[in-house]
Amino acid sequence: MKISKRVRNLYYKLFEAPAIKAENIGVIFLKRKQLRKLIKGMPRLTSKQKKAVRAYWKPYCKVKMNWFRYFTFMTGKFDPRYIPEDIMQTKIDQHFNSRKLSYGFNDKNNYSLIFSKFKQPKTLVRKIDSLLFDENYELLTSKKAMDIILKNDEVIVKPSQDTGGGKNIKFYNTKTDKKALDNLLNGKEQNFVVQQIIKQHPEMGKMHPESLNTVRVTTMLLEDGVHILSAVMRMGAGTSRVDNVSAKSSILAPINEDGTIMPNAISSSDFHSGNRLKTHPDGMPLSQIKIPNFECMLETAKKVSLYTGHFRFVGVDLCVDENENIVLIEVNMRKIDTMYTQALMGPFFGDLTEKILDEVFRKETK
């Protein structure tokens, strides 16, 4: 179809832009509602601090002071460079990450193709559009698929589209849950992957061996190459088997440059009191962990983010297996959660803040 540039621009202005705006309004509403709950009882900013924030953000956009109030209380340090989460998830995310393409790229059945050069959890069976495939995209019957699955003791099933926050991730014991697995393979669900469970490095599993503990590395692609913005260790706690923030009982801990963990963590059930943990709720002091092969991990995250050029601001979830290999679990390509990372570590973009904000807002005003 041949459509001239003018028509395309008009189409964007009339239809696409309002749709994106409508979506953004929803996100902003939810995020602010979330903040209002968290912020109860926190001390207010002084007028000097408020002035500093207004002066810093004047060339860019209007900001809500409550965000700075929240971050200042959580970190104990005031800084005008904090990025409010509603701006992060609308304007900044929209600028760096193509939303239209994200639906196709965020497909877990697509990962083994796009990221074929990186080690990933071994896929046993995939279901794409209600057809069953093996690891190498060869068609399977449901009987054959079952045979492949039964060779393992335990498997993990993840939905391949619309994922995030550990949603709908299920574990199956192949000896006891045979019927449930059979229902899954022949059932209504159209898109998912069945994967082997990763045996993690003993150092990574020290705190909470029941869950797979991962490192979330956030990267940004700028003109001079890939920058690493933050690296946070996420651990499960209690009975949890996943380490996502939405799992309520996970622990987030910042990582030093040499791979050791700062004894300065927060629990996801406690994002409002400002309490910092020095020990894991299961009893182990945090300072005793050192992430093996950490340098290689950062290198991998940098390489991964080059494969997703349409998404310049991504969160890469990595873990370390038994043999100290870095394993790629997931790449988050849109609406990356930075609120808790900022509450943990301070301004998200650090020294790059001005450069990034300049790029985002100058382009928008054009």
Partner: protein, 372 residues
């Protein structure tokens, strides 16, 4: 504390789908009337469809409140091929319902990116990539970051090269051959982002004979039927002008010749211009009937196997050429608007023996369209 996940993401998609529908409807109408206008002067006794034939079309494809534009494709095909056949797929049905309905609309734009073809299908032979530009950033063929100065050097060392946009391409739009050192700067000035720079393809002798200046490509259409990939149609696109792209739109539709290919890889005796005019010899005097396409069977095998691993894409139009060593080279795949009119001109009804199944799908889609 409850972590709230925004559930507003779907609004954008739904809205997008709704708007696209109305756009598709208008464009398909526009397209089919243009085809009719171009085709009419080439045939002396223009026949029209009878009332019964129209009724048959409506019931076969499940058309709701039929309009004039729904019958245009059948009217053209009746005059071109001299015989009425319900199985021809109307342009409007294809563009509005089948095309978006068969492939998962959400993911199509991601799979359409030429910069990721090699990752999606690592077993297929693609033209050798020299440099890519993804979202404004230069990556080399192995997806490592390259600075602009280095990018220039890489291109200079590999001249001549072909530059084409990696997203929103088609009909040979913005495709350019760069053979001089002075032209390299034009790439950086004219193309802003999302393009791919590839090595020039040297085509086989058979194709070279037909038109030496353009790269002639086969347009092969495959679809998923009951979980298996099937071949729907295969035709050769051949540009008789000086343009490199075989499918480049030349004014008034004259220039591109579409020739059907039979099961054994032999070209049909009759070819068609885009305005439905029949020819048997190309303007340069070459008679194409009976010329055999080298390694045709291998091409079909590769295309079918590749399609089987991507069942979420219901229908694909592959552009494939043959290089000088008789090896197939996959230029691109098309997921949207696969140029169905050309295929039907050259090879008859697009869905062939599977027409009934696709008609049933179309009926279902039309029935449930608003509920979606």
């Amino acid at each position: 504390m409850n972590y709230i996940k925004p559930s507003f993401t779907n609004i954008y998609l739904r809205f997008d789908a709704f708007i696209h529908d109305s756009f598709r409807r208008n464009w398909s109408k526009h397209y089919s009337f243009n085809q009719l206008k171009d085709a009419k002067p080439n045939y002396k006794n223009w026949k029209k469809l009878t009332r019964n034939e129209k009724k048959e079309i409506v019931s076969y494809w499940g058309i709701k409140d039929p309009k004039k534009s729904d019958f245009v494709t059948h009217e053209i095909m009746l005059n071109v091929h001299g015989k009425f056949d319900v199985r021809y797929c109307p342009e409007k049905i294809f563009r509005v319902y089948l095309d978006p309905g068969l492939s998962d609309r959400k993911i199509v734009s991601a799979w359409d990116d030429k910069n990721y073809f090699e990752l999606h299908q690592p077993n297929l032979p693609f033209p050798k990539t020299i440099l890519r530009n993804v979202n404004g950033y230069f990556l080399d063929s192995n997806y490592s970051h390259v600075q602009i100065d280095d990018a220039k050097n890489i291109i200079l060392n590999n001249l001549p090269v072909i530059v084409k946009p990696s997203i929103d391409s088609g009909e040979g739009k913005n495709l350019k051959l760069i053979s001089n050192k002075d032209e390299v700067d034009d790439i950086f000035n004219n193309y802003k982002k999302d393009y791919i720079i590839q090595e020039l393809i040297l085509q086989c002798d058979e194709f070279k004979k037909l038109s030496p200046k353009s790269v002639n490509a086969m347009r092969i259409v495959t679809a998923i039927v009951n979980g298996k990939a099937v071949l729907l149609s295969s035709a050769l696109l051949c540009n008789t002008t000086d343009s490199i792209a075989c499918n480049k739109n030349v004014s008034a539709g004259v220039g591109v010749v579409i020739i059907g290919i039979d099961e054994n890889g032999k070209l049909d005796d009759v070819g068609y211009f885009e305005n439905a005019k029949q020819i048997q010899t190309l303007p340069n005097g070459v008679k194409f009937g009976g010329i055999k396409v080298p390694s045709y069977k291998k091409v079909i095998e590769l295309a079918l196997k590749a399609h089987e691993s991507m069942p979420m894409l219901g229908i694909i139009g592959w552009d494939i050429t043959i290089d000088k060593d008789d090896n197939p080279i996959f230029i691109e795949w098309n997921l949207r608007g696969i140029g169905m009119y050309h295929s039907q001109l050259a090879t008859g009804p697009l869905f062939g023996e599977y027409s009934q199944q696709f008609a049933d799908i179309s009926k279902k889609l039309i029935k449930n369209w608003k509920k979606k």
